[in-house]
Amino acid sequence: MGAIWDQFITLFTNVLLLIYNFLGHGENAFGVAIILFTILIRAITWPLNAQQLKGAKAMQDLQNDKEWQDIQKKYAKDREKLAQEQMRIYKDRGINPFASCLPTLIQFPIIIGLYQSIIRALAASPLGLLQLARSVYPFMNIAALVPLNSKFLWMDLGRPEGIPFPGGFTLSFLPYGFPTLAIIVALTTYLQTKLTMPPSTNPGDQTAAMNSMMSIYMPLFLGWLVLNYASGLAVYFVTSNVLGIVQYAMMGRVNWRNVLPGGGKPAPAKKK
C-alpha cells in the first residue's frame, strides 16, 4: 500500500515539475504550476462533481417529497422499517444516496497527495532533496529543476503563509504573521458551500441542516490547515474553490440568495 501511495505522490510531483519546467522555472512559476495542476484535477473530476450536484439535488428534492415525508411520520418509531422504506424509494427513483459523497472522498487523497507532492518538490531538506532526486522521472533534468523557485507573490510555497505584523509585532499563536490566505481560503470555502446549497422549504430537512453545519465547519477546518501547513496547499484550495463556484454557475446551480442576509432559510408559506 505504501509503495502504491508513493507512486501516486511521485506521479503528482512529476506532473507539477513538468508544468513548472514548461513555465520556465522563473519566479511565481511553481505557484502557477499548482494553479494549472488544480485546473487539471478539476477538469478530470468534472463529471464526478456534476454527479455530486445531481445527487445532492435529488436528495434535496426528496426531502420535500410528500411520500418521503409521509414515511418519516408513519415509521417514526420503527427505524428498521423506515430504513427499508427509504431504500425502496431510493431504488424506485434511481437515487444513489452516496453519490454526493463520492467526489468528497476522491478529493481527500488528492489534497493529501498534493500536499506531499508540494513538500517533496520543494525539497527543503537533504532527505527531501534525496527523495526528490530519486522520484523525478528519467526524462526530466533534475539538475536544471533543483532548486525550485518557491516564491509566489508574497509567499514561500513551502511554508505557512503570513504577512508580518508592522513594527516587528508578534503573536505566539500566529507565528507567521497575519494569515491572509487562511482567511481567503475560509471565505471562498464558505462561499462555495453556501452558493451551491439548494434552497429548502422543509424546516425538518436533515440534508439542509447538514449542509448548514458543513458551511461552518469546512471553512474553519480548511482555514486551520492553511494556517499550519505549506501555503502551496492554500493556492490549491483557493483555486479549487473558485473553479467549483464557476462550475456550479455554468451548470446553473448557484444560489446567490444563500449568501444574502436571511438567505437559505426555509421560505415562509405563501398566503392564499
Partner: protein
C-alpha cells in the same frame, strides 16, 4: 451517515497532514565526528558524546530536549570546542565543551534561518554557511559575528579551505570562493547543478574537487576557479569525494563507486555498485576504500575495486562513515540504535549506542 463522514474526513485530514509535517523532526541524517577518545553524534534534539572504547554515553547536550535539531557534523576546534549547528527553529550555532557537554559561549550565535552545513574553522575564525544563503564569519572564542556575506540560495555543504580562500558550495549551482581578508567573492564557478555536499581541497592546496547534481565531478584551480577537468558519473555524487594519494574515491546516489585519478579525472575502476544508494563520502582505508550504503551495509574494496569485505550494520546509512583508532563509526537512520562501532577489518560490530 453524512455527519459521521464529515467528522471522519476532518479527523483523518488532521492526522494525515500532521504526519506529513516535518517541522519538529530531523530533516537530514545524523552528523558525526570523533577524537581519540569519543565520538560526537548529532541526532535529533541532542548531541551525544560516546566513549569509543565501549560505546557508553559520556554526556548529551542539552540535558533535556528543546527546539534544537542537530543534524550537521559536530566540529572539533583546535582550541578545544565542539561546535554544533542546529536545524531547529532556534537557528542556533552552539559551542560545547567536549569534556563536559556544557556550553562554552555565553549564548549561541543565532541566524535568521536554520543550519544544514557544519561550520569550518580557520585560525581564530568560524565560517558558517547558513540555509539563508549567507556565509557568516564569527570570532572563534566567543561566537560573536565579525562579518557576513550573501552568496546564493541555500548553503548545505560544509565549506572547505586551502588556507587562503573559503570554498562554499550552494544549491544555486555555484561554488563560491570567498576571500576572508577582503570579505568578498574571489571567484565563482557554475557547476551545472545543485551542490549539496562539501568540496575537498588537494593536499598541496592547488585544486578543489566538488560535485553537483549535474552528475559531474569537477577539479578546479583553487586560485582562479578555472576548470581543470570534469568527470562524468552515472548519478549525483552527493558528498565530498575522499582523497587518497593521487586518487579520488567518489560514490553516487545510484550506488556506484568510482576511483578517479586526480591528474586526469579518469575512472580507473570497472562498474562497482555494491548495494543501494550512497550519500556519504567514501572512507579511505589502509588498503582501499569503504562505503556505507542506504541498505545498511559497509562495503570495502581494494585499490583495484575488488571486494575486500562487507558487513551488515542495519538501518539506512546516509551519514559519511568515519574512522577512529581501530573503529569505523556509522550512524544509521531507521535503526534501533544510533551509532555503531565496527572493527576496521569489517569482521564485527563491537558496540552499538542506543542513546541510553
Amino acid at each position: 451517515m453524512k455527519r459521521f463522514a464529515l467528522i471522519l474526513f476532518v479527523l483523518l485530514g488532521a492526522v494525515l497532514l500532521s504526519a506529513c509535517s516535518a517541522s519538529a523532526q530531523s530533516v537530514s541524517w545524523p552528523g558525526l565526528s570523533a577524537d581519540a577518545n569519543n565520538a560526537y553524534l548529532a541526532k535529533g534534539q541532542f548531541v551525544y558524546a560516546v566513549r569509543l572504547s565501549d560505546g557508553a554515553k559520556v554526556w548529551q547536550y542539552p540535558a533535556s530536549g528543546g527546539s534544537q535539531i542537530f543534524d550537521a557534523n559536530p566540529v572539533l576546534t583546535p582550541d578545544g570546542q565542539l561546535l554544533a549547528a542546529s536545524a531547529g527553529s532556534d537557528n542556533g550555532l552552539y559551542s560545547i565543551d567536549p569534556a563536559t557537554g556544557k556550553d562554552k559561549w555565553s549564548a549561541p550565535f543565532t541566524a535568521p534561518d536554520h543550519w544544514v552545513a557544519a561550520p569550518l574553522v580557520l585560525q581564530d575564525t568560524i565560517y558558517a554557511a547558513n540555509n539563508n544563503g549567507i556565509l557568516y564569519a564569527l570570532k572563534l572564542a566567543t561566537g560573536e559575528k565579525l562579518w557576513s556575506l550573501p552568496l546564493g540560495h541555500s548553503l548545505w555543504g560544509t565549506p572547505a579551505t586551502d588556507g587562503k580562500l573559503i570554498f562554499v558550495p550552494s544549491l544555486d549551482h555555484f561554488l563560491y570562493a570567498v576571500d576572508p581578508q577582503a570579505q568578498k567573492i574571489a571567484w565563482k564557478v557554475d557547476l551545472g547543478g545543485a551542490a549539496a555536499g562539501s568540496p575537498v581541497v588537494s593536499t598541496d592546496g592547488k585544486t578543489v574537487y566538488v560535485s553537483s547534481s549535474a552528475k559531474k565531478l569537477f577539479a578546479l584551480d583553487a586560485t582562479t576557479g578555472s576548470i581543470q577537468w570534469t568527470a562524468n558519473t552515472t548519478n549525483w555524487v552527493w558528498n565530498a569525494p575522499a582523497l587518497s594519494g593521487d586518487t579520488l574515491f567518489a560514490s553516487d546516489i545510484s550506488g556506484n563507486v568510482y576511483s578517479i585519478g586526480t591528474v586526469n579525472g579518469k575512472n580507473a575502476w570497472p562498474v562497482v555498485q555494491p548495494d543501494g544508494p550512497i550519500t556519504g563520502s567514501p572512507l579511505a582505508i589502509q588498503n582501499g576504500v569503504a562505503v556505507a550504503t542506504e541498505s545498511g551495509f559497509i562495503y570495502a574494496f581494494d585499490a583495484h575495486g575488488a571486494p575486500l569485505w562487507n558487513i551488515s550494520v542495519g538501518g539506512n546509512i546516509y551519514t559519511s562513515p568515519i574512522a577512529s583508532g581501530n573503529l569505523i563509526l556509522v550512524a544509521p537512520l531507521n535503526a534501533d540504535f544510533m551509532l555503531a562501532g565496527v572493527s576496521n577489518d569489517g569482521k564485527q560490530i563491537l558496540w552499538k549506542f542506543t542513546g541510553k
